[in-house]
C-alpha cells in the first residue's frame, strides 16, 4: 500500500513539469509589450525604461534558458515576483489559498451530501415520481450557468430575504460561505445524483446482488452490505473529475461574490497583465487538481481490492 501511494505521488512530478512547460510556453508566445505588462494603457514609460525592465526580468534571454530558470525557481517554490505589487507571487497566493480551499471543499461537500442520497433514492424507485422529478432537476442543474445561479441566490437569499450576506468573505465563516458554496455546488450535485443513480441501478442488477437476495437478505441489508461500496467505486471517478470543473467555475463564483481566493486573484492578474501572478495561480490550481486526482486514485485502492499494486 505504501509503495502504491509513493509511486502514485511520484507520478505527479513529470505531469507537473509538463504542465509547467505548457504554461511557460503559452505565456512566452505573448507579444513583448504584454509580457512586461507596463507599456500600454497609457502608463507612458519610455522605451529605455522598458528595455531596462526587460533586461532586469531576464525576458531577453533565449526561451530554454528562461525555462530552465523557471523550473529552478519552481523547485524552490519560487513563483516569481509580481509585476504589479512587487511581492513574491507565492506569498500572494498563500494568502488566498485558504478561502479558495474552504469554498471548494464546502461546494463539493454540498454536492456529495445532497447528490449521493438523491441519486440513491431515485435508483431504488426507478420510474417513480421522485425518480423522474429528480432527473429533471439534475439535467436542469447541469444546464444552469453557475454565475446566474449565484446572482439568483444572491437576489433571493441576500437582497430579498436578508438571510445571508450578498457578497464578501467576512470572517470566512459558514454564514458568508453558504451562498457561494451552494452556487458552485449545484452543478456537481446534479451530476453526482445522475451518476449515483446510474451506478446503483447498474449494481442492483448485478449477479452478486441476486446472490445476496437468494441468501434471504432484506433489501436494506442488500443495499448496505453489497450495493453501497460497489456504487461508491463507480461514483468516485465522477467526484474526482468534477473537481476540475469545480475549480474552473470557482474562479467565476469567487469573482461574483468578491471572494478573496486564488480564482479572483487570477482574474485580477489577467486584467493587470501580471504574468507571474497569472502563471502562479494557474499552476497552483492545476497542482491542487492533480493532488485531488492522486488522492482519488489512492482512495480507489483502499476501496477496491481488484486494483493492483503494480
Amino acid at each position: 500500500m505504501f509503495g502504491f501511494v509513493l509511486r502514485r505521488v511520484l507520478q505527479m512530478v513529470p505531469m507537473l513539469i509538463a504542465i509547467a512547460l505548457l504554461i511557460f510556453v503559452l505565456f512566452s508566445l505573448i507579444p513583448g509589450s504584454f509580457a512586461t505588462g507596463q507599456q500600454d494603457e497609457g502608463l507612458g514609460l519610455d522605451m529605455a525604461v522598458v528595455a531596462r525592465m526587460r533586461a532586469e526580468l531576464g525576458l531577453d534571454d533565449p526561451l530554454y534558458v528562461r525555462f530552465g530558470r523557471y523550473v529552478q525557481q519552481l523547485a524552490t517554490l519560487d513563483l516569481g515576483i509580481s509585476f504589479r505589487s512587487k511581492q513574491p507571487v507565492i506569498e500572494m497566493i498563500s494568502a488566498r489559498l485558504w478561502p479558495s480551499l474552504s469554498l471548494t471543499a464546502a461546494a463539493m461537500g454540498f454536492a456529495i451530501s445532497v447528490g449521493l442520497p438523491l441519486g440513491f433514492v431515485a435508483a431504488l424507485r426507478p420510474g417513480s415520481v421522485a425518480d423522474l422529478s429528480l432527473m429533471v432537476i439534475a439535467v436542469s442543474g447541469l444546464s444552469l450557468p453557475v454565475f446566474w445561479l449565484g446572482i439568483l441566490l444572491m437576489y433571493l437569499f441576500a437582497l430579498t430575504l436578508g438571510w445571508f450576506p450578498s457578497f464578501g468573505y467576512g470572517d470566512g465563516g459558514l454564514w458568508h460561505l453558504a451562498l457561494p458554496a451552494m452556487a458552485l455546488g449545484v452543478s456537481p450535485m446534479a451530476l453526482l445524483a445522475r451518476t449515483t443513480r446510474a451506478a446503483v441501478l447498474d449494481i442492483m442488477n448485478a449477479d452478486f446482488v441476486r446472490t445476496a437476495r437468494s441468501k434471504g437478505m432484506n433489501e436494506f441489508r442488500v443495499v448496505v452490505w453489497h450495493v453501497l461500496r460497489n456504487a461508491l467505486v463507480l461514483v468516485l471517478t465522477t467526484i474526482g473529475l468534477q473537481f476540475g470543473s469545480l475549480l474552473g467555475q470557482g474562479v467565476v463564483v469567487e469573482k461574483l461574490f468578491a471572494w478573496p481566493g486564488v480564482g479572483s486573484l487570477l482574474v485580477d492578474s489577467v486584467f493587470q497583465r501580471d504574468i507571474p501572478a497569472v502563471q502562479g495561480c494557474i499552476l497552483m490550481i492545476t497542482l491542487f487538481f492533480l493532488v485531488i486526482n492522486t488522492s482519488v486514485d489512492i482512495a480507489y485502492k483502499l476501496i477496491d481490492p481488484r486494483i493492483r499494486y503494480t
Binding site: M15, A18, I19, L22, I23, L26, F27, L29, I30, F34, V139, S140, L142, S143, L144, P145, V146, F147, W148, I151, L152, M154, Y155, L159, A198, A199, D202, L234, G244, S245, L247, G248, Q249, V251, V252, K255, L256, L266, V267, V270, F271, V278, I282, I285, T286, F289, L290, N293
Partner: protein
C-alpha cells in the same frame, strides 16, 4: 418513452435556439448596441420593451435575440475545432499506435489534468477578448473525450476483418480511416459534441461574464449578466432574461445529447 421525451424536448429547445440564432436580427425590435436612450433607462418589462431596458436604455429583448448569435457561433465553432482535433488525434493514434499513440495519450492526459475553463481563461488572457479568441480558446481545450473515444474505437476496429480486408485491397491509411473507422465512431462523437456544445456555451458565458470573452457593448448573454449585476437591486429583471436564455439553450443541448446517446450509443449507459 423517456428517450422520446428527451429527444423531443431537447430537439425542440435546440431548434428554438438555432431559430433565434439565425433570425435574431429580424426578431429584435431595435439595434442591440446603438439604440441606447437614457430616457428609457432601467424600465421594467412592458408591451414596448418585453424584457425591459438596461442602464443605458437598450431593449433587453433585442439584445437577448442578438446574443443567441454569439453563443451559438462560439458553441458551434469551438465544437467543430474540438471534434476535428479530437478525432484526428484519436483515430490516428489508435490506428498507427507506436510513439504517436504514446504522444497523443500523454497530450490527452495533460489536457485532462488542467481544468478546462482555467486553460481557456489562460488562452483568452493571451489572445485578448473577441469572438475568434473564444472559439480558439474553447476549441483547443475540450477535445480529450472525443480523442479518447475515437482512439478506443479505432483500436477496436483496426484488427477487425473488414479493415484488414481494406488494407489487403491496397487502400491507403487515410482512406481506411475515413471510410472504415470514422463512420463507426460517428455516433458517440455526435453525442459528445452535442453535450460538449452545452458546456462551451456555458464557458463562453462565464468568460464573457468575467470580462474576458466578448467585450461589451456586444450583446453576449454572459456580459449582459455582468452588467446586470450592478443594478440587481434596482433592476433585477436585467439578470433574469439573459440567464434564462443561456439556461434554455444549454438545457436543450443537454437533453438532445442524452436522447441521442440513447439512440446512437446505447451501450454507453451500461459502459459508462
Amino acid at each position: 418513452m423517456k428517450i422520446q421525451a428527451n429527444l423531443a424536448i431537447g430537439g425542440g429547445l435546440t431548434a428554438l435556439a438555432l431559430f433565434v440564432g439565425v433570425f435574431g436580427p429580424w426578431l429584435a425590435h431595435t439595434d442591440p448596441i446603438m439604440d441606447a436612450n437614457l430616457m428609457n433607462a432601467e424600465l421594467s418589462p412592458s408591451a414596448e420593451f418585453w424584457f425591459g431596458t438596461d442602464q443605458q436604455g437598450r431593449d433587453i429583448w433585442s439584445r437577448v435575440m442578438y446574443g443567441a448569435q454569439i453563443s451559438l457561433t462560439v458553441g458551434i465553432g469551438s465544437q467543430l475545432i474540438n471534434t476535428a482535433i479530437g478525432t484526428t488525434l484519436g483515430v490516428t493514434a489508435g490506428y498507427w499506435g507506436g510513439w504517436w499513440d504514446d504522444f497523443v495519450n500523454g497530450l490527452t492526459n495533460l489536457m485532462l489534468a488542467i481544468p478546462s475553463l482555467i486553460f481557456a481563461l489562460a488562452i483568452m488572457a493571451i489572445l485578448g477578448p473577441g469572438l475568434t479568441s473564444l472559439m480558439i480558446a474553447l476549441g483547443l481545450t475540450n477535445w480529450s473525450y472525443t480523442c479518447r473515444i475515437s482512439r478506443a474505437q479505432a483500436l477496436a476496429v483496426r484488427t477487425q476483418g473488414y479493415v484488414q480486408a481494406a488494407r489487403v485491397l491496397g487502400y491507403g491509411d487515410v482512406r481506411i480511416m475515413f471510410t472504415q473507422i470514422l463512420p463507426n465512431t460517428l455516433g458517440p462523437i455526435i453525442v459528445i459534441a452535442t453535450l460538449g456544445m452545452g458546456g462551451t456555451i456555458l464557458a463562453e458565458a462565464a468568460l464573457s461574464f468575467l470580462g474576458l470573452g466578448v467585450r461589451p457593448p456586444a450583446p453576449s448573454w454572459g456580459s449582459m449578466l455582468s452588467d446586470a449585476r450592478e443594478t440587481i437591486t434596482t433592476a433585477p429583471w436585467l439578470s433574469l432574461f439573459p440567464g434564462l436564455a443561456i439556461f434554455i439553450t444549454v438545457l436543450g443541448l443537454n437533453l438532445l445529447g442524452d436522447g441521442l446517446r440513447d439512440v446512437l450509443d446505447p451501450q454507453s449507459r451500461s459502459r459508462r
